[in-house]
């Protein structure tokens, strides 16, 4: 079943088209990422789902029901806010029980449910504290418990890991993923971190300028970027100019080629090209070697076990034809 459906949805703020004719269908139980730079419209899409924004035009359905004009408090959708938005004057337990309280659930019952939700996010016994007494990671778990205690059919997460440090972020990525698996709820999250989107999501929508540039599985988006923007934003792919692509024997269009798909030297069945080394940098497991070939700059990942060519040296590089992806003419 389709959890969230967007049909030609637009949201304009004055002359700014924050969301521009977006079509989207998110399946029930899916872990869905909306990825893009700031101002790309991904957060506005999330706010349209939550009900904080209304579309300028187009149609939104949540589990088959029309969502336009339905206020946030009548949607079976909950949000984990970027700044967590915990209520500072309430205890942690009261924060988590808030959604049940305003729905009129009895005190004993809602406090029990809140305790269970806190246990689920590994914060049992924290109920009497105030939000100000918790660390960022703990506050995030509370925000998660506060949303999940309402048993939403869709959970929206706005940059859920943005405020956490790297180690905590990696840990929370795994926890979110396993939580989503065990609960079976549709998770939709917004992020500008492509690594986060690739590692957590079942499918990714890459946003730019209010439009979806590409929608697909992490592998599709990473390996076969449809547009130059996607190739550039997701990972750091080489975007090859049309004349260079044509000189290699392909059609006359932009193409993407992942640095890790390029090797030093020739090989059977591989397309060779030569270039002059302009920069090298050590990345731990590999060296990133940038060469200038026929006016194009191409980066290649050379395993750290191989010798690094010197700057100014002319080297031969090669790749498999199937790893080169020709892209749409649009930027």
């Amino acid at each position: 079943m389709t959890a969230v459906l967007f049909q030609q949805v637009s949201r304009h703020f004055g002359a700014v088209r924050a969301v521009d004719s977006v079509d989207l269908a998110i399946a029930e139980g899916e872990f869905f990422a909306m990825l893009g730079p700031s101002g790309s419209g991904k957060t506005t899409c999330l706010r349209l789902m939550a009900g904080f924004e209304q579309p300028t035009s187009g149609h939104i359905e949540i589990f088959g029901e029309t969502a336009e004009g339905v206020p946030p408090y009548r949607r079976n959708v909950n949000t984990v806010f970027q700044d967590y938005a915990l209520f500072p004057h309430l205890s942690i337990l009261e924060n988590v029980a808030y959604g049940l309280m305003v729905k009129g659930v009895g005190k004993a019952e809602r406090l029990k449910a809140a305790e269970e939700a806190l246990a689920m996010v590994k914060l049992p016994g924290y109920g009497t504290r105030r939000p100000g007494q918790l660390s960022g990671g703990q506050r995030q778990r509370v925000a998660l418990a506060r949303a999940l205690v309402n048993r939403p059919r869709v959970l929206l997460l706005d940059e859920p890991l943005g405020a956490l440090d790297l180690k905590l972020r990696e840990q929370m990525q795994e926890e979110l993923k396993s939580l989503q698996k065990s609960l079976g709820i549709t998770f939709i999250f917004v992020t500008h971190d492509q690594g986060e989107a690739l590692s957590m999501a079942d499918r990714i929508a890459v946003f730019n300028d209010g439009k979806i540039q590409q929608l697909g599985t992490p592998e599709e988006v990473y390996k076969r970027p449809k547009t130059r923007f996607v190739a550039d934003f997701v990972g750091s792919s080489n975007v090859l100019p049309p004349d260079f692509v044509a000189s290699l024997g392909f059609g006359n269009s932009h193409a993407s080629l992942r640095p890790e798909d390029i090797t030093l030297g020739e090989g059977p069945g591989r397309k060779p090209f030569s270039g002059r080394v302009v920069a090298t940098s050590f990345l731990g497991a590999a060296n990133r070697v940038t060469v200038e070939a026929a006016g194009a700059r191409v980066a290649a990942m050379v395993p750290a076990s191989l010798a690094v060519p010197a700057q100014g040296e002319t080297v031969t590089l090669s790749f498999l034809a199937e790893d080169l992806h020709q892209m749409d003419a649009t930027p």
Binding site: F52, P71, N78, T79, P88, Y98, V102, A147
Partner: protein, 271 residues
């Protein structure tokens, strides 16, 4: 880390500070002292004798009660108006963006920056121009102009600290607008409103200038006191009333001070 804890100020500075405080507060003590004097026509020092009779005399003077009652009613109603309008205005200015927002903010604050006499003359000419007869309500309107400012200033500062996503979070969790106001907004701005309301009440209670321009035949307590000082009869009654006024206005201001101080912790706890 408090290296300055044991260093004490020079003696001269201590004396100067003491003298300054004495100059500020001794006159108030004198007012209290003369409430107990046996001499009723002039303020002779030291008082020739002490008595509690003026409390009884004051209690039995209907004009005192009339003036006091009017002042309390005016202060209460102006404060109530100010609480509603000041909060709404603060919410509009801090919660939304619209053209001329800064201007509106300035215009709301202006009445308290203007000398009271200007506000008074402006209101008086406006009332006569609109042919509104002077009454209880003209006094209330006059006082509300500056009471709104006090409430607004307190509320707007607090609203700025209440993150906008708190309201969205409440709505997201299923609370409608009334529930959100009741459970989220009010607890977060409540102490600021109480403090603003107390200050507004105190300001209104001892206001003279605007009142003289907007009152008809009625006298509020401060105006009654001014009139009373001109008459050389039962003067200590004025002092008794003054004591009561000091207590009535001082306590709310003290309360407001403590409330806003604690409010910092309440509203800042989530950050």
């Amino acid at each position: 880390m408090r290296s300055d804890k044991n260093t004490s100020a020079p003696l001269g500075l201590k004396i100067a500070a003491g003298a300054g405080l004495a100059f500020l507060h001794l006159p108030i003590l004198l007012i209290f002292l003369y409430a107990f004097t046996t001499e009723e026509k002039s303020y002779q020092f030291p008082p020739p004798g002490y008595t509690l009779q003026w409390f009884a005399v004051t209690w039995n003077r209907p004009d005192v009660w009339a003036a006091m009652g009017l002042s309390v009613r005016v202060a209460a109603i102006s404060t109530a108006i100010a609480l509603v309008l000041g909060t709404l205005c603060a919410a509009a200015v801090s919660r939304t963006k619209f053209f001329g927002r800064e201007t509106i903010s300035l215009l709301v604050i202006l009445p308290i920056a203007l000398p009271g006499i200007i506000t008074g003359i402006a209101l008086r000419s406006a009332f006569s121009f609109a042919e509104i007869p002077f009454s209880f309500w003209t006094i209330v309107l006059g006082h509300a102009t500056f009471c709104v400012v006090v409430v607004y200033n307190n509320a707007v500062a607090r609203f700025r600290r209440v993150s906008g996503s708190l309201i969205e979070a409440s709505m997201d969790l299923g609370a409608d607008s009334f529930q959100t106001f009741r459970y989220i907004i009010l607890p977060n701005i409540g102490t600021a409103l109480l403090a603003g309301g107390m200050l507004a009440f105190a300001l209104s209670f001892d206001e003279v200038i605007v009142t003289t321009f907007t009152a008809g035949q009625q006298s509020t307590l401060p105006i009654w006191m001014l009139e009373e000082l001109v008459r050389p009869r039962q003067r200590p009654v004025t002092n008794v009333v003054a004591m009561v006024v000091v207590l009535l206005t001082f306590l709310p201001i003290l309360g407001a001070y403590y409330l806003t101080r604690d409010g910092d912790q309440v509203a800042g706890a989530g950050k």
